[in-house]
Symmetry: C2
Subunit: 125 residues, 2 copies
């Protein structure tokens, strides 16, 4: 997967899970995959050029974690303030969580430097 | 998320990870998300109606696990024999695995009954 590196034209997606839900690895993977597809669809409608740039760069993704829903909501506000696209994943609640639980916030695709400015201090999932 | 249930028109995607790689939850989530986006793009090119049916049903996904690469290759052959679309995720190898390592097999979207016939016995991730 080609990467653009330090030239300011690298794009990324960040998938942020709620640690307090203590999801299994499989459940977390499914929430992250939901978010990635939702971000893809939103970008295809809004800015196909940006989507293609992200895909051409190897569709770079990373999964991070916050503790609580409040942390995730704060992250959503910080992203919106920088015009970074976000999507919320709500789980159908068939297994590990109650129906409608917000499990994951997806951010991007957006310039890596912009995304890092709001997610850079978060630990990896 | 609406579900179609027992009427034979329920579609799903299955994301299968290699247990032997002992990926972190975050790394596994990223591989699963890569696979989901690749399956989405392949379906958009091949059969938009099927893709839309899967999306309308809540883009149902599940993450499962096999032990080894050989198991994953056998699963790929079984899926192809039933005309179920598959994608391989190869990791860029920047962190936990060697470059080019095949980390995940994605299957679908396809009729749930068809997918279950090849993945039904596998444990959840």
């Amino acid at each position: 997967m080609p990467r653009k590196g330090a030239f300011g034209n690298e794009y990324k997606v960040v998938l942020v899970l709620r640690g307090e839900l203590r999801l299994t690895a499989g459940k977390a993977a499914v929430q992250a995959a939901h978010a990635a597809v939702m971000l893809y669809e939103a970008a295809a409608r809004r800015d196909r050029g940006l989507l293609d740039a992200w895909l051409a760069g190897g569709q770079k993704k990373i999964a991070l974690e916050v503790a609580t829903l409040a942390d995730l909501e704060a992250l959503d506000r910080a992203a919106k303030a920088r015009h970074i696209p976000t999507v919320w994943v709500e789980d159908a609640g068939l297994t590990e969580v109650a129906p409608g639980t917000r499990t994951c916030l997806g951010l991007g695709p957006a310039r890596a430097a912009d995304v890092d400015a709001v997610t850079g201090d978060l630990p990896r999932l």
